[in-house]
């Protein structure tokens, strides 16, 4: 008999492997669309429109938006992977395979979030490769770049998990990405510097956590940011802690899972 620690590790890696296998198996739905969409962003915003905009923050418009587009794809995919996978497991009842097994709730959460993070990073890498066809990328601060993209993926994977716990239909896992996540991402400084906005809207933008992630990631890649980087890390760590605690509370309570 393996030790409890080994058993838990095997359970975690099993869940992670299953999640990774799932998004690879359905790659035309998970990996291909972001590559196509982001290519269109680069062509339309970066190439066609960007060439008329000129420089932003001391970089060509294409260079300036590349980090934001990469981060946007990471956020969306980390979120939607967990939301759809966990909700499907509930819908098809195969979540019961996990609930009856000796897998603690924190490992269920960790497994799904790791799966979502893996997809977010995988798509981020694909979009980064796509961006190399349009612009050159020189990473200025490797640690900040990597840590910010990983933390952002974790944070939105947690968001997707909570969404899936509450969801009672497939419609309910698309409401938040459509009506909250996408507007917040577009208004989070992906395509512009908030210094272009009037002061009032600059202050409103500072309430958007995605602004901090996009800017910190951009700082890691280009060395420019609209906000202090330390604040970005503090905000994302607070968000991750809060979302983790809330997701564990829901799991322990059995919300949406146990009668």
């Amino acid at each position: 008999m393996n030790s409890p620690l080994t058993r838990r590790w095997v359970a975690f890696t099993t869940l992670l492997t299953r999640e990774v296998r799932r998004f690879i198996r359905i790659w035309p739905q998970t990996l291909l669309p972001p590559a196509i969409t982001m290519t269109l962003y680069f062509i339309i915003f970066g190439n066609l429109i960007g060439s008329r905009i000129g420089e932003m923050g001391g970089f060509s418009y294409m260079e300036y938006i590349a980090p934001g587009i990469i981060m946007m794809s990471v956020i969306n995919n980390a979120y939607s992977n967990v939301a759809s996978s966990f909700y499907s497991a509930k819908f098809q009842s195969h979540i019961e395979e996990l609930l009856v097994a000796p897998v603690p709730n924190y490992l269920i959460l960790a497994g799904y979030v790791a799966g979502g993070t893996a997809r977010g990073l995988c798509v981020g890498l694909i979009v980064t490769i796509v961006s190399l066809f349009f612009t050159s990328i020189e990473i200025q601060h490797l640690f900040i770049t990597i840590s910010m993209v990983v933390l952002s993926a974790i944070m939105f994977a947690l968001g997707g998990f909570i969404n899936a716990i509450y969801a009672r239909s497939f419609d309910e896992i698309s409401i938040i990405p459509t009506f909250i996540l996408t507007p917040m991402t577009y208004l989070g400084g992906v395509f512009y510097s908030i210094s272009l906005l009037p002061e009032f809207w600059q202050n409103v933008s500072l309430l958007n956590p995605i602004l901090y992630m996009v800017n910190a990631f951009r700082f890691g890649m280009l060395g420019v940011s609209d906000i202090p980087i330390a604040i970005a890390f503090v905000i994302i760590l607070i968000c991750i802690t809060t979302l983790t605690s809330f997701a564990l509370y829901l799991l322990n309570k059995g919300t949406g899972l146990r009668n």
Partner: protein, 307 residues
């Protein structure tokens, strides 16, 4: 050692429905135990609580002396569950489902692979190991659920209506398989609507009705309580108009089929001597209903009458 111990178990759902009203139940290690009851009696809720799929309102549940509240990981590791409804990911391959489930119980892939192969052979699923589960026939899906429940070698196997909708040939092969694993030491708890199945397989039995255990005994003692049995006799030739069986309750179904009620303490010899005296030849006979079925109905009716 007790494989399962349930004390004062209650469950009241959010809508106020009391599904379990103080269940007391013990299942000994190595037993083949039947948990029977009409639809909505509380069987699946009880199983749900044991397997952590349903949150209990109060009471204690222990599996091999591990309390499900205090030591859930250990308690869960002893249990294998075959639920009533198919609950696997239909898009996954059969073998992946088994290896993944083993992994959740802490069994690494290199140990899980040979175990999965063994079960796939035993349950006749080897040829389908790379097939997506949704493409299996109904009977194969049932067998896949049994294989999945056994992949981590549980000490307690709980089967909730495992043979529902399964043809008789497959049902009988599943009975043989379950008897084998019980003989190898696995404790089995079975709920079923096929009372013949419970009578053939199980040594002990509990009957649950409206959230309460109304009977909990060994199968032999329960069947001994049956004081009358009804037999259907199929006759060689049509009965004459003046046919009569003195002191025996009977009715004619048609002119070659006779239904006879026999007291257990009288046996069948008296009946057959009466038939012989009248030169009536019996081709074949059968119990009108399964013996357990008759008892089950009478116990449930009695329980309802006391409400």
């Amino acid at each position: 050692m007790k494989a399962l111990s349930i004390t004062n178990l209650t469950k009241t759902y959010a809508n106020g429905f009391a599904a379990l009203k103080g269940i007391q139940l013990t299942v000994e290690q190595g037993d083949f135990f039947a948990l029977l009851g009409p639809n909505g009696a509380g069987k699946s809720t009880t199983i749900g609580v044991i397997t952590s799929l349903v949150t209990k309102s109060s009471g204690q549940v222990s599996v091999f002396d591990s309390n499900i509240d205090d030591n859930p990981e250990v308690a869960k590791s002893f249990i294998g569950l075959v639920p009533q409804e198919f609950n696997f990911n239909g898009f996954e391959q059969v073998k992946h489902i088994l290896i993944t489930q083993a992994g959740y119980y802490g069994m690494p892939a290199k140990e899980a692979e040979p175990r999965a192969d063994e079960l796939l052979h035993q349950l006749g699923l080897w040829d389908k190991r790379h097939t997506a589960a949704r493409a299996l026939s109904g009977g194969m899906k049932r067998r896949l659920m049994i294989a999945r429940a056994l992949v981590h070698k549980p000490k307690l196997l709980i089967l909730d209506e495992p043979t529902a909708g399964v043809d008789i040939e497959l049902r009988r092969s599943m009975w043989t398989f379950l008897e084998d694993i019980n003989q190898q030491g696995t404790t089995i708890i079975l709920t079923t609507h096929y009372l013949e199945e419970a009578e053939n397989l199980c040594r002990n039995i509990a009957i649950i009705d409206r959230g309460k255990i109304i009977e909990n005994t060994d199968m032999k003692s329960l069947l001994n309580r049956l004081d009358k049995e009804t037999f259907v006799l199929y006759l060689q030739h049509p009965l004459s108009a003046d046919f009569a069986l003195k002191d025996i309750r009977y009715q004619l179904i048609d002119d070659t089929t006779l239904e006879v009620e026999v007291n257990r303490d009288e046996g069948l010899n008296h009946l057959f001597s009466l038939l012989s005296q009248q030169n009536i030849e019996v081709c074949s006979m059968k119990n009108k209903a399964n013996r357990l079925e008759e008892l089950f109905i009478s116990l449930v009716e009695k329980s309802e009458a006391t409400l």
